[in-house]
Symmetry: C2
Subunit: 376 residues, 2 copies
């Protein structure tokens, strides 16, 4: 490590912190092509890599590199630049999404489903970050809560609740950020395609109180952490109890749904079977249905007697047991085996098999499809 | 513009979107020195520029550049790298703050005042993004609202309200993000240095409904926009009416404060004099007290009869009229002239003159100082 000679901040240095860049790093054109642009006069090579593909930018005047794609299908896309192989986000493009430990730019190509992920000209729900106490874990924790438009002005009206869980490495911000859950719910509700509901987004890593930077842990490095030791499942009764106490909920299984992606699908799988008369709607999105570790968790019995618990769960005839996964998902075979088990028992479920793999593109689609089916 | 040949996303490209970087780009050491680190094997020059100064990084093994500062005073610092003069944020460092149109990394050196800006091991308030309707503007708009810990469980208890306004180019996210308002309020209230209060953070640019990316305007480019045409001031009665209707507020001037920075200081100046029996506490932080443009705004009378309005305002003997500014602020002379005017009339105010200029470091200090004086 070199000891740095710190210089006083010069006017030009300060200026550089605040200046807006002259070029827009991404622009969605009316014909659904997308133009990327980077000012990098000293670069030899500039590329863009996104979940739409990758491309090389060509150098133009004054060291401004650019390229334009062909027309893209409507979607929310993430991307990043590489400037001489250096992974690069434009500091003057403030539109970034965090997925676990990475920031990526994003843009939306309008149409279907892009419009569903965009802020619509519709009534907007309230999104709150709320702290609750868990007796089971002995600590305060943070959750994100979406209350639909009209919640605050609807007197004593009570609402159904969707508990929406993220995957390994995620946190209570994941569904709101990359998942676009607030936009999806606002738009579906405004169109009458989903009923007004409360959406509760918890933090599935019980080691942490909150998302990175939002707890006393400060700016820790996010990584692929989660809970697969029964602690999250065991503490979930504190979550339900808090939500039912704080919000005007309908406290019945017919007005409760739980769904999650990947690890959160695993959590939904375990929670639904361990709280058998609590949720009439269960959604497993690319679910890690075999998720589990220690038998020495705080409630090891939660990971035991699976068959008996599934018997009990399905004996209650849940209104919807929903399984969705992409053809290329690395958890496809695990889910196939689970479906075969359900089939062998004659348990009813809805199955949605999409293209693609273990990606947010699919989870947004699954959320919208699932939300349309709830509480009707 | 070159037409790009889009390739299908390869496994390695996708991988690169999700990988965590091997190196921490900033680390605050126990001795309050700070180590910066960038992996840039092809770079010739790597620098860091922040509001603490600037430094060159030295290249070590495998193209990893680093440097360590001397001990820094406790503060929240912003910084950015420059890799061969390219402004660079590390995509694997997810801690960024947006100031208008720029993303900057940040870190906090513990102590005083850094601890005040950190998430403490204290009860946390709820932070909500809420939509309200303005009849004056004829549109829905977005605000951020902080309700203190205990608000939801305190029955019919009513709370005082601080209306906290941002500067030119900012929005309803500014005080929460770079301003650390939620952390400051949590920590002050927990220590008993501030009374529990609601903090309402509006969007001071009436042209927009909401912060960038949060309205139907989509991902527009943020820039130095604001309102200095009476529209914000005129619509503020809708804000107060909404807040008093939605939250359990004490609807008295003795329980209302308004404060803002720069343009928001100007707004506070105009609003306090045009709503003379509404706020007993007024805070002008680096205020643009001469802020005004058109005489053809929607309520031009709001920018007229200043002397008579100030007479009326001070005749009500406000509990606190607070002016704070830095010695190097470009608005220093404007504020000096205003203070001289107040002095000549014999109006009482509290004046806090700090070091430094027109920067967030000062506005955080002013907020904490102001909040400690409210509603006592």
């Amino acid at each position: 490590m070199a000891a740095a000679a710190l210089s006083f901040l010069t006017a030009s240095a300060q200026q550089s912190l605040w200046d807006i860049s002259e070029y827009e790093s991404v622009k969605v054109n009316p014909d659904r092509t997308v133009t990327f642009c980077v000012s990098a006069p000293k670069a030899v090579k500039v590329e863009v890599v996104g979940d739409f593909g990758s491309a090389s930018l060509a150098e133009g005047e004054k060291g401004v590199w650019s390229c334009t794609t062909g027309p893209l299908e409507s979607e929310l896309y993430n991307f990043r630049f590489y400037v001489d192989d250096l992974p690069y986000n434009d500091p003057g493009n403030t539109y970034v999404q965090r997925d676990i430990s990475n920031l990526m730019h994003y843009f939306i190509v309008p149409g279907n489903p892009g419009d569903l992920y965009s802020v619509g000209d519709v009534p907007h729900g309230t999104v709150s970050r709320v702290w609750y106490h868990s007796d089971v874990l002995g600590k305060d924790r943070r959750m994100a809560v979406y209350t639909p438009a009209g919640y605050e002005t609807s007197g004593n009206k009570r609402y159904p609740v969707l508990y929406l869980l993220h995957g390994m490495g995620g946190d209570e911000e994941a569904w709101l950020c990359t998942g676009r859950a607030a936009q999806i719910m606002d738009n579906l509700i405004a169109k009458g395609e989903a009923v007004p509901m409360i959406v509760v987004m918890t933090n599935g890593c019980t080691k942490h109180q909150a998302a990175p930077g939002e707890s006393v842990e400060g700016n820790f490095r996010p990584y692929n952490s989660g809970s697969s030791d029964t602690s999250f499942e065991a503490h979930f009764k504190d979550v339900i109890s808090f939500v039912d106490g704080r919000y005007r909920t309908v406290r019945k299984s017919s007005s409760r749904a739980i769904a999650g992606l990947s690890m959160g699908g695993g959590h939904s799988y375990w929670i639904s079977m361990n709280y058998p008369k609590t949720f009439d709607y269960v959604g497993l999105f690319s679910a890690a249905v075999r998720l589990r570790t220690a038998k020495d968790g705080i409630a090891p019995e939660m990971y035991e007697d699976v068959d008996a618990k599934l018997d009990r769960l399905f004996a209650n005839d849940p209104k919807l047991y929903y399984i969705a996964i992409g053809k290329d998902d690395f958890l496809f075979n695990e889910n196939k085996a689970y479906r075969e088990k359900l089939d062998s028992k004659g348990y009813r479920y809805v199955y949605f098999e999409s293209e693609g793999g273990h990606v947010w593109r699919n989870w947004r689609i699954y959320l919208a499809d699932f939300a349309r089916r709830l509480f009707k």
